[in-house]
């Protein structure tokens, strides 16, 4: 983005002195900005267009003096040229430490590059202090500069224009998609059409009862929000302390969801995406609550529909209950008779009661198996190897639990 000229600048008499310096664009700093000698200004680095730097032109004598001053530490430079971000209301920028970054002197130009890219919309106050610069160089150069009449300090307030963020992001889906969910439902997956802002998600997610009243603290509010790597899917867990038998939270307040009641999951439109724009619109999901599900998913009860050889139809698995949307895509796959994974696309449908595998080409005759990771869960956190809660009285010891179980099928002519 080229430099915006909408920033305010405070130009001091010192400009006259600075204009003595002959500001030539260097290879490193492409000055896409208007050349105004003596101002502190923003410029983009040609080598890294996303990085904007602060520049100030120096009079030749000063630039030479600084260049000959030996190795100057960042702490030295910081006395001469410092940039402060206006970070928060209630704090004068002068009370805040300067932005951390690196300095370099290229020809007659002192350049400050912040450690992280500048944030659009934030005011940066840049201060160049000539007397401090003179203290750094000392000697005759400083004496010569001292004879010049000028102000000691030049300041500028600079800002990158914030692109206008249009509300375009939406909640694209919430899983589970069924509108009838068990009392011991463990989680929701919220899918968004673009990366979202992170850090205060629970302010924007509400569970309402049938009277549209907000339910207090229904979810496990983790500081480590459970996002996918690109920030487009958030996992929300119901408070497990109110699901598990006999724990104090459940004893005190009972389960969050109660069989026979209806609820609405509500996501506020005020939640901003990663670009700072609010959602295009809010999202609601109405559901009714059924009895708790304490049964483990049992692959033996799943219905396999295998396509014929030569067909490009999908292989499907139908379950008697909805299973976890994310885990269905990760923990169920197909291998051939040689135990090689078969490439294809997984589609989860029918309110997560169906897993379909599209090969993308014709099926060949042979023996295959569907591999099922035993961590695959239903909506209540019961997995293929153990229920969410193991009753030690009823089920004293776990048997050996393999990582996978398999379902065999054949492709026939």
């Amino acid at each position: 983005m080229p430099l915006r000229h909408d920033f305010a600048t405070a130009i001091c008499p010192f400009i006259l002195v600075l204009q003595l310096g002959c500001a030539k664009p260097t290879q490193d700093e492409a000055t896409e900005t208007k050349e105004v000698s003596g101002e502190i200004r923003l410029a983009k680095r040609s080598a890294m267009p996303s990085q904007t730097v602060f520049e100030v032109d120096l009079p030749q004598a000063l630039a030479d003096g600084l260049a000959n001053s030996g190795v100057l530490e960042p702490a030295d430079w910081k006395k001469v040229f410092h940039i402060h971000a206006e970070t928060a209301n209630g704090f004068d920028w002068r009370e805040l430490p300067p932005v951390q970054g690196s300095y370099r002197l290229t020809n007659n130009r002192l350049v400050f590059e912040s450690l992280f890219p500048l944030q659009a919309g934030v005011n940066y106050h840049a201060v160049f202090n000539l007397s401090k610069a003179k203290q750094l160089i000392g000697g005759k150069t400083a004496d010569r500069l001292a004879e010049m009449k000028h102000s000691d300090v030049i300041e500028a307030t600079l800002r990158l224009e914030r692109p206008r963020a249009k509300p375009e992001t939406i909640v694209s889906q919430v899983y589970p998609t069924a509108n009838s969910l068990p009392e011991n439902l463990l989680k929701f997956y919220l899918h968004f059409s673009a990366p979202m802002s992170q850090g205060k998600v629970y302010n924007h997610i509400h569970l309402l009862n049938a009277r549209n009243e907000k339910i207090d603290l229904p979810f496990l509010e983790l500081d480590e929000e459970l996002w996918n790597p690109d920030g487009t899917r958030l996992t929300i867990l119901f408070d497990p302390g109110r699901i598990k038998s006999g724990l104090l939270p459940r004893e005190q307040d009972g389960p969050v969801l109660r069989e026979g009641n209806s609820y609405t999951l509500k996501i506020d439109a005020t939640w901003t995406d990663a670009n700072g724009a609010p959602l295009k619109h809010g999202f609601t999901k109405f559901f009714v609550v059924t009895a708790p599900d304490v049964q483990m998913p049992s692959p033996a009860q799943w219905k396999i529909t295998a396509p014929d050889a030569g067909s490009t139809n999908p292989l499907t698995l139908d379950f008697p209950e909805p299973l976890d949307h994310a885990l269905l895509q990760r923990l169920v796959w197909v291998e051939d008779a040689g135990n090689r994974a078969v490439e294809g696309q997984v589609h989860v449908g029918d309110d997560e009661r169906q897993w379909a595998f599209v090969l993308g080409k014709a099926w060949k005759v042979g023996d295959y198996q569907i591999m099922i990771g035993t961590s695959l869960e239903d909506l209540a956190g019961n997995n293929v190897s153990r229920p969410f809660e193991v009753d030690r009285v009823q089920r004293p010891e776990d048997e050996f639990i393999p990582n996978y179980v398999t379902l065999d099928f054949k492709i026939r002519n």
Binding site: E86, T87, Q100, F116, V122, E225, G231, E389
Partner: protein
């Protein structure tokens, strides 16, 4: 993967303590909890890259034990150093290197693809700096995948959406202990990784369960934990997300095993454990737990060794188990770390507003 790419161009050097550090740039994909170790080692967790990086910091011993450590407007000042507005800066965790009296904060600046992870150091004088990760001595331990996850990442599937958040890390007797929580299956793993990291060492997970009243057993993610000796044996005191406080002998944390933590206290509802420390005072040891609803709880740990776990239902509200007191003047504490024998360093303040970093005398 920038981290590993960068590592290719690095040279292995053996330092005096034989840790196979490499010199090179550390590029964080993300940042989670921090922990400090011996000789100025700072452990930085990177959940997105699924690794822990041990960074050898330049330690300058300090004899500042006056508890004179206070930074008002911590979040605004950290934001200022990072050149961002305060609403774009999230402080994730606090760790303290006691010998140098340096506080480290893990910080995320910005949102989405343009977010940056940073480690920020804070000195008692209030000086705040972003820790340089360029050409630093460091070592990396990758975290192994969860069970049944090896079929992903082959290219035939869409990109893996699974990510394991790191809820806490601590250095205990030569080992780094890492607690994780998946964004998909409801499971909790504790990993123990010997340090110095050994070549291809991967932190192998132990599955953690919670036995409620000796009968119902469930997977139980660990929210925060602290190590503590009971009769000379190292234990972890862990706060589960479902609120019980449990003890787990470290000796049981063997790769591939299933461990059931023994409940020693039930904290009750509306109670989110945030952080814990153990300290000694007048010959006794205490546990402090910062907590979303009760302020800071102080628990005398001398009886933990022979304390009989809770095996019956707790009734009539309230908490049960190990007795505790609430430290009434420690309010709005989000992060806790031991600063010296007399003081803790805390991050406190009304959430989202003005946060302070300050030393407080241990109760």
């Amino acid at each position: 993967m920038g981290l590993f790419a960068a590592s290719l161009a690095t040279i292995f050097v053996l330092t005096t303590d034989a840790a196979p550090y490499q010199n090179g740039d550390v590029k964080l994909q993300s940042i989670g909890p921090l922990a400090t170790g011996p000789d100025g080692v700072l452990f930085v967790s990177d959940p997105k890259a699924a690794c822990i990086i041990a960074i050898k910091t330049a330690v300058k011993p300090s004899d500042n034990t006056s508890g004179n450590f206070k930074v008002e407007g911590l979040n605004a000042k950290v934001a200022a150093v990072l050149g961002a507005s305060v609403d774009q800066v999230r402080i994730i965790d606090l760790a303290v290197d006691a010998s140098s009296q340096t506080a480290y904060l893990s910080v995320i600046r910005g949102q989405g693809a343009s977010a940056n992870a940073a480690v920020v150091s804070v000195r008692p004088s209030g000086e705040i700096h972003v820790l340089s990760l360029k050409n630093v001595q460091h070592a990396v331990a990758e975290l192994s995948n969860a069970p049944a996850d090896q079929e992903t990442g082959t290219g035939r599937r869409r990109r893996n959406q699974r990510m394991e958040s790191i809820t806490d890390i601590a250095f205990v007797k030569g080992k780094l202990i890492v607690a994780g929580l998946s964004n998909e299956e409801f499971s909790s793993t504790l990993r123990t990784i010997p340090f110095p990291f050994e070549g291809s060492q991967k932190g192998t997970g132990v599955r953690i369960f919670h036995g409620a009243h000796g009968r119902y057993e469930t997977s139980s993610p660990v929210r925060t934990f602290v190590s503590y000796d009971i009769g000379g044996d190292p234990y972890i005191l862990a706060a589960y997300t479902c609120t019980p406080l449990v003890k787990i002998p470290i000796v049981e944390l063997k790769p591939g095993s299933n461990v059931v933590g023994e409940t020693i206290a039930e904290l009750g509802n509306r109670n989110r454990p945030l952080d814990m420390i153990v300290y000694k005072k007048n010959g006794k040891q205490y546990l402090l737990m910062a907590n979303s609803s009760r302020g800071v709880m102080k628990i005398t740990t001398e009886k933990l060794g022979n304390y009989k776990g809770i095996t019956e239902k707790v009734s009539g509200g309230g908490t049960e188990g190990v007795p505790y007191e609430t430290v009434s003047d420690w309010t709005e504490v989000h992060q806790l770390a031991e600063l010296d024998s007399q003081h803790a360093l805390v991050v406190r303040g009304v959430d989202g507003d003005n946060l302070n970093l300050e030393a407080v005398r241990l109760p």
